[in-house]
Symmetry: C2
Subunit: 168 residues, 2 copies
């Protein structure tokens, strides 16, 4: 098996987040996908070691934002390379709330979604959440950030909890 | 809900295919995703109305190829807008076979995968197949075709069975 084959798959970069009581958590993923149109459903794979997987499971809901090309190593690093166990990642940055009061970052994004989890599939290292979309809106006019653009232009790395991590 | 938000998600374009006995089937999807790295697993959502969903279910396996930018409306149309019920889509085009003798197209691609289905999730209009990757290889040096490139440069349409179809 030649793992470089996986680098030829395309994806965007997203932040998924949720709140349970006073705890709120979010992380960067490249695994958000629209699985059906009628009704609209999204799926997202989140590493079980990520605190966000825990919070989504308890909340039964998640928000997801589509990052745009104005994203920086710093704005992505806050959500991508630190743990919500150690800090409130939303502290000090512009934060929006959906109708269920789930938080989401409002900067460097070009769309946002709110989902109710309808099924959770254990796929080993990750939980795959299937979510019925309850809110969806484009935000601004930014260009969606692809994982490829992030790696080649922003020169960003991949955290080892990622579905697409291929380091040693 | 503003469905234009979904257009801001990024994806590649892929052909998934399978064989059961003498029947072979394949279709174009933009729903292939790497869900885990250790071990490597892919997921793919296929519309239940697509003959390919049937054949994958019976075969318990699928192949997936990553289309590259040399793809044309014609090469994509063969797999995207016709049904394997009516014709053998592999008839007359260069076809490769994996170790389980599952077919895959060998032109206009830059990577290929072979998966054994480990779980099938019914998500409504679509089946979501989770596959353990048994073979993976990059093919040639082509640039992966994104769904965005397909729509904006190749000027391609979206079949109504697609997860991302938003027509009326």
């Amino acid at each position: 098996m030649d793992k470089t084959a996986f680098f030829r798959m395309s994806s965007g970069l997203y932040i998924v987040s949720a709140r349970d009581g006073m705890e709120r958590s979010g992380c960067v993923v490249n695994t958000l996908l629209q699985v059906t149109a009628q009704p609209a459903q999204l799926s997202v794979a989140v590493n079980k070691d990520n605190y966000t997987a825990d919070v989504i499971r308890r909340a039964g809901r998640f928000t997801a934002v589509v990052l745009d090309q104005t994203s920086t190593l710093e704005s992505i690093g806050r959500f991508g390379f630190r743990s919500s166990r150690d800090l409130d990642k939303f502290e000090g940055i512009p934060t929006g709330f959906d109708e269920a009061y789930m938080p989401y970052p409002t900067e460097h994004i070009c769309a946002r979604f709110s989902c109710r989890v309808v099924e959770t599939v254990d796929v080993g290292t990750h939980l795959l959440f299937i979510g019925a979309v309850e809110e969806a809106e484009p935000v601004g006019l930014g260009t969606p950030l692809t994982y490829d653009y992030y790696r080649t232009v922003i020169k960003g790395g991949t955290p080892k909890n990622a579905s697409s991590y291929h380091g040693s």
